[in-house]
Amino acid sequence: MAEVIWGLATSHVPSIGAAMDRGRTQDPNWKALFDGYQPAREWLAGHKPDVAILVYNDHANGIDLDIVPTFGIGTAERYDVADEGFGRRPVPDVVGDPDLSLHLLEKLVDEGFDLTVFQELAVDHGFTVPLSVWTPDPGDAWPCPVVPLLVNVIQYPQPTAARCYALGQALGRAIASYDKDVTVGILGTGGMSHQLAGARAGMINAEFDAMFMEAIEKDPAKLAALSREELIREAGSEGIEMIMWLIMRGAMNERVRKVHSHYFVPASNTAAGLALFDNRAGQTA
């Protein structure tokens, strides 16, 4: 059976990738963010999984508004890095794992999560920035194959936090039932509080973010109980994308060990958060 060894929650703001691509990580406005990543990156470098699952949303690059799947999964062998308008990021394309994708798809559909299937998908910053947060210098290839799990967070009604958490729990069971003995890393991306448009643009709610950071580790059910309205009010119209952290968390054990967390304002218009959890330490005897 496959085993989730870690979960990484991280913002996927494009400017984080741009700062890395342009060699600006030591600029005064960025240094504290990237310094804060370092302990997580070092730990992750020593805990390479066989495969990863990355929960994210597209931002008008791989998909448009013709079709808005609430949940989707990539089943391809390869995912190109999208050109978002001004050339693709100088990072490797993504190698997939179709066998695992199709296993997860079947198990999740059996559990009532009717995912949309992407046989072809270009992945944007929502996907590549978290990979860069994990692995700043990938060379020719990312550390392992990665399966994309997509969530609609940009068009209301987004799935509820409760549904995301339940999907994560079903995902955890689906991973555990895989017949290959592989280790799995899971990434939940987006957030933290931010709003891009409207008179409230630029809002940051550090108090809510601190609560979320604490509860994602110790009491995810509390976060799963938040309504869409509460999430948009407290975290901003774009901050609601933190529901994707709950999919990651749901796939992990009830008890996890926090390896490292970091919070930084601002990554452009956003509060950037990172939280890394070891899934093997918290198992009850």
């Binding site: 448009a197 643009a201 119209s237």
Partner: protein, 115 residues
């Protein structure tokens, strides 16, 4: 339906219906050939995508607030801003009545309050 949260446009199904053609136009600007065609005759390009007269005026006049009001999704509207060499902080300034520099300074000071 979501109850109104002050100062917070929610991109819901009705908004997405209203902005559908305009958002398609923004999406098309990912490709250099389309950007060239757009810049050569912006009005004609808007007509080709079937924008309403209000949307057409908002796009060609770079009225960012109106684009949002007329159904633009910020992620799509941003494609046009990027083409113009404008940042999300510039747009944040437009939406909040600040210059880009003021908006950046507010973000660096910890962000605006959620109120």
């Amino acid at each position: 339906m979501l109850t109104d949260i002050p100062g917070t446009p929610v991109f819901d199904g009705q908004t997405s219906r209203r902005g559908f053609r305009m958002n398609k136009l923004f999406m098309s600007l990912r490709f250099a050939a389309n950007r060239e065609r757009f810049l050569a005759d912006e009005g004609a390009y808007c007509d080709e995508f079937g924008l309403t007269p209000e949307q057409r005026a908002a796009v060609t006049g770079r009225d960012w607030q109106a684009m949002i009001d007329l159904g633009g999704s910020i992620f799509y509207v941003y494609k046009l801003a990027m083409m113009d060499g404008l940042s999300m902080q510039y747009l944040g300034g437009v939406f909040t009545g600040m210059t880009e520099q003021e908006f950046v300074a507010a973000m660096r000071a910890g962000g605006r309050s959620g109120g």
